[in-house]
Amino acid sequence: MKLAVQVNEGPYQHQASDSAYMFTKAALEKGHEVFRVFFYHDGVNNGTRMTTPPQDDRHVVNRWVELAEKYDLDLVICVAAAQRRGIVDEGEAERNGKDGTNIADKFRISGLGQLIEAAIQCDRTVVFGD
């Protein structure tokens, strides 16, 4: 099965990102294809490398990065939602005159079309939100 996963909430505030991660990991371990994980609304906050949770807590951002490294996952952050919330890559920093970037490795910023494309191409779209 080819899956699209949408994550609509940020890390720690809401369980949605944890549930999405657990679901995605289980799907990949079962041999399913996860075509794309799309981060929308406050979900874009899953993609900042500045996150520093206490050492005895899970690292939600790094967990996504490690899963992406292991399975070559496409982690896409919505550009419009990211601009509102200050998630910045080099391209965005240049375009909008920002003095730095904060996007985590393995995440990329792109348009909402990536969500629609994923929903068209995949057998199932699974939404995790508040």
Partner: protein
């Protein structure tokens, strides 16, 4: 991508208190470029998204009601409203905005694609959709 899927946007939240309604609308606008069959469903507090007369200037937010009125131009053919959700909130169709639709090729016109439907019809429409986005 020749396959046409039926997309349903399921809206269950009021506008302004959270950003979900506005960012959901942004998905619909972008999704228009993909030539899929697009419908919107408003249930529970989602029906408040279509109420006429919003003036959010004093809370310094953008008034996005006019954007809903352009959805017909973005290829949205149906905007369904759950009757019971509307009634529970003391509203009728008269309280809701109207959205025109026109097929540029056939020149078929519909004055208002906002349609109040009963629960059985909601179930049927959700059931026959290929993708349901929930916001």
């Amino acid at each position: 991508m020749s396959e046409v899927k039926k997309f349903m946007y399921l809206n269950r939240r009021a506008p302004y208190g959270t950003i979900y309604a506005w960012e959901s609308l942004e998905v619909v606008l972008i999704g228009a470029a993909f030539d899929q069959q697009v419908s919107l469903m408003f249930v529970d507090d989602g029906v408040y998204q279509l109420v006429k007369g919003s003036k959010p200037a004093d809370i310094e937010m953008k008034n996005f009601t006019p954007t809903y009125r352009t959805l017909g131009d973005y290829g949205v053919r149906h905007m369904f409203v759950d009757k019971a959700s509307l009634e529970a909130r003391g509203l009728t169709q008269d309280d809701l905005i109207e959205v025109e639709w026109e097929d540029w090729e056939t020149e078929e016109e519909v004055d208002n694609i906002v349609e109040v439907i009963d629960a059985d019809k909601v179930v049927e429409l959700l059931d026959e959709s290929d993708v349901v986005f929930s916001f």
